[in-house]
Amino acid sequence: MTPRISEIWVYLAASPLLGLTITLLAYQGAFWIFRKSGNHPLANPVLIAVTVLVLFLTVTGTSYETYFAGAQFVHFLLGPATVALAIPLYTQFKRVKAMLLPVIVGLFAGSLTAIISAVAIGRLFGASLPTQLSLAPKSVTTPIAMGVAERIGGIPSLTAVLVIVTGILGAVGARYVFDAMKLRDPAIRGFAIGVASHGIGTARAFQVNEQSGAFAALAMGLNGALTALLLPLMVAWLHFA
């Protein structure tokens, strides 16, 4: 009996079917918990699904490469989904146009705060220079953040992890910050989430309100572009590296 089960496992572990199926299962379970909790921000579906998957892969001794061979089919959809963000942005454009000044001011204020505070606090608590530079682009979407980290002397793969954690922190914590500020405007709430925590924050914003989602998508794109342009200049200017 036992050899047969292990034979089946050997086959499954090598096929992309398993990685894909457990990704969908873990996410649906996480989403069920999220709904059951009344969309509570602490029950963030990305956080729950990632935790379950890391535990499962560690316990079964499956490597991330093997897992990703299957999960890449889900990962691939991130591209077309990012393009699809144009549609809510178009639908909400009237509101965006009416808020042009707050959008521009909020973008610059938020983008600079994200970069400077991350590096300063890392430095204060003794992070090494490459780690500080890996922290700098942590608020922008993964592909931009990794590219920028590489250019300024950070560690791209470390940046990728920091970006994901930032996204989850923003998605989980945003409501508490905004409620404490007594901030109700869904456009401002969405935009701030997008600046601080990119796509994962945007996903959270869409779960709450379409207008918030559109503004988060806009903020994610704008902050990505601004950080990519600004950060290498700031590093050169401050003679950081």
Binding site: T23, L53, T82, V83, G122, F125, L162, R204
Partner: protein, 119 residues
């Protein structure tokens, strides 16, 4: 659904080609989003199919971050060395960014009534 998905992929491809061709610092999909937005601004509202397909994709946007997020397991040892500095930096910086962005926008907003429901 098929034609909508094809449209999205075409815009992503165009974004990818332009970003690489012109050496822009933007990733292809983000540029693709801007291109599709411009196309919509020129030709008018998206057709029903594009609308529903995007809605379906975006409804579960969180799912699409799960494979990359699971990659954390590869870097746990690196994070372990400097976990306190990293955690404090990410935590404080993320909250500060939310606060500063929202505050800056609130301060320079013209007093117009907000539309839509509050999240």
């Amino acid at each position: 659904m098929l034609s909508a998905l094809t449209q999205l992929l075409i815009f992503q491809l165009a974004g990818e080609v332009i970003a690489r061709g012109l050496n822009l610092p933007l990733p292809g999909p983000v540029l693709g989003m801007l291109l599709l937005f411009l196309a919509l601004a020129v030709r008018g509202a998206p057709d029903h199919e594009l609308q529903t397909t995007s809605q379906n994709l975006l409804q579960h946007l969180s799912l699409l971050f799960v494979p990359a997020g699971t990659g954390i397991m590869v870097h746990l040892h690196r994070v372990a060395d400097e976990w306190l500095a990293l955690l404090l930096s990410l935590l404080v910086s993320t909250f500060a960014t939310l606060l500063v962005t929202a505050l800056a926008m609130k301060l320079c907003q013209r007093p117009t009534p907000a539309q839509g429901e509050t999240p």
